[in-house]
Amino acid sequence: MYTEKVIDHFREPHNRGKMENYSAVGKVGNIVCGDVMWLYIKVDKNDAGQDIITDISWETFGCTAAIATSSMVSDIGKGKTIEEAIAVTNQDVASELGGLPPIKMHCSALAADALNEAIYAYLIQEKRSIPEALQKRHDHIAKEMAQLEERYAAFTEKGNSKPRGCE
């Protein structure tokens, strides 16, 4: 059901773990549905004065696909300018992995969203203007998270535990 590339990234994921001195972190997912990604970015300026993502690392709670996509997005995003990185989609990540099973696309392809959210957090923190596309995607992600929490509210009560990572 998984491609060899997915399995490879799952077995030996790249750039895993928390980053020291990160510039910003993007947190997406919901423990209630089972996949949570925290993605850290380090941003520096290059010689041309552009913002470059020089390092990415992540911490992920999730299935095989969630871990493989975390690994892949960290490879894809590293070295990209902020503008280039904003353009990376979940579909791009899945394609680089040779595809994901259809049922995994919805729940596990959160990796590019996490990158998006990290960039958003970085720009907010640096008091920069937010490109329209980034703002739109941030709003969309926030709306999806809210819907997920609503949809799984019954589980949360039943399970008698606060879904951590949703705060």
Binding site: I31, G34, F61, C63, G159, S161
Partner: protein
């Protein structure tokens, strides 16, 4: 050897066919290939084999052979029990539990969608249905109570004697899905009206099972055709499968005490050792359990990743958690038990078979701490935090 599964601890999913079973089946593919409905000697030979198998199963269950209806497996047996009862009328009330196998659960859902009333019994923290709840749920229009004998995910044994006695008192038919319990624990056949069994869970072949139907229990058939199985299930008998199911039953019942005692030993040892790892829990009942199933949760770990990591170590196990199913929800069984969500996604089901050896258990216990640590290291949730 990389593809070779050395350690198979997923016997609740399926089991290897026992050599004796396979040997008994082979002639019925080749030299003894008759259709059990045919008049000629080939046909009569096949009929004899089917009826011998039926008699053997009936003898072990201490029931009458005519009460055994062969099916394509337990999913069909469960469907026949629920739908075959319900479709005799256009409405009515069904009682079942929150922790049933999907074959019962989704049959009940389907009936609910067609206008039948369905009561889902809650379970306690160990996954046990209360017999008192059954008593309270029964109404004048209750047509069937269906509660599984032993749970397939967590192993908890249900009080089916008590439930069966209440049903008997109130003249409501009682069905139990005994797929995991058959050949493992004593079944109170005197209070059971219908019972579902699958061959491949006890070292028999896939694609065959049966529904025990107590004489006098009224069912409408789901499969219409040549009137096989006394009109209760049409379709040419799966002769090799039925023969295999008979032999598998015989082995299971004859070896039961010895095999289940060994399984219990493995289970106790597993529980003792796994719970030494930090932030783990046992799901299900510590003692009132089927001997071959142990279900654990590991905080901050997602179940599918755990299964895949163990697979790298050539250990086959399973999970009942979200990613094993085509939706996001954690296992309906663990949710019904009230397992915290931080734990419900990280479940591991270990299930042993007659071929399981101490080496298999040791291999799992050796790999598990490594794999758990590896996954916790990459999780944003910190254990005990």
């Amino acid at each position: 050897m990389a593809m070779n599964k050395n350690v198979y601890l997923d016997n609740s999913a399926t089991t290897p066919v026992a050599p004796e079973v396979l040997e008994a089946m082979i002639p019925f593919f080749q030299s003894r290939y008759g259709n059990a409905s045919s008049l000629h000697s080939e046909g009569r030979d096949a009929r004899r084999a089917v009826e011998e198998s039926r008699a053997l199963i009936a003898e072990h269950l201490k029931v009458h052979p005519s009460e055994i209806v062969f099916t394509s497996g337990a999913t069909e047996a469960d469907n026949l029990a629920l739908l075959g009862t319900a479709l005799r009328s256009t409405g009515g009330h069904l009682i079942t539990s929150r922790i049933e196998h999907d074959a019962v659960r989704h049959s009940a859902d389907w009936l609910a969608s067609r206008g039948y009333d369905v009561t889902l019994l809650e379970v306690d923290e160990f996954g046990r249905v209360s017999a008192d709840d059954v008593r309270e749920a029964i109404r004048p229009d209750t047509m069937l109570v269906s509660v599984m004998a032993g749970n397939n995910e967590v192993g908890t044994i249900q009080p089916i004697r008590a439930i069966g006695e209440i049903c008997r008192e109130r003249s409501v038919p009682f069905h139990t899905d005994a797929v995991q319990a058959y050949g493992k624990i004593e079944l109170p056949m005197d209070v059971i009206d219908m019972l579902s069994v699958s061959a491949h869970k006890l070292h028999g072949p896939k694609g065959v099972g049966f529904l025990y139907v107590r004489k006098g229990t009224k069912l409408t058939p789901l499969l219409h055709g040549g009137g096989h199985e006394h009109g209760r299930r049409s379709g040419t008998e799966n002769v090799p499968g039925i023969v295999g199911l008979g032999v598998a039953t015989q082995i299971a019942f004859e070896e039961r005490d010895r095999v289940t005692q060994r399984m219990e030993g493995f289970r106790e040892y597993l529980i003792q050792e796994v719970l030494k790892l930090p932030a783990t829990r046992l799901n299900g009942h510590p003692t009132e359990s089927l001997p071959h199933i142990a279900n654990f949760s590991f905080e901050a770990i997602e179940g599918e990743s755990l299964i895949m990591k163990l697979d790298e170590h050539h250990i086959a196990t399973s999970t009942g958690s979200a990613c094993s199913s085509p939706n996001l929800e954690p296992s309906h069984v663990l949710v019904a038990l009230g397992v915290p969500l931080s734990m419900a996604h990280g479940s591991l089901r270990v299930s042993t078979g007659r071929q399981t050896m101490q080496d298999d258990i040791d291999a799992l216990l050796k790999a598990l701490p490594i794999v758990v640590q590896e996954l916790r290291d990459m999780s944003p949730f910190k254990v005990g935090g």
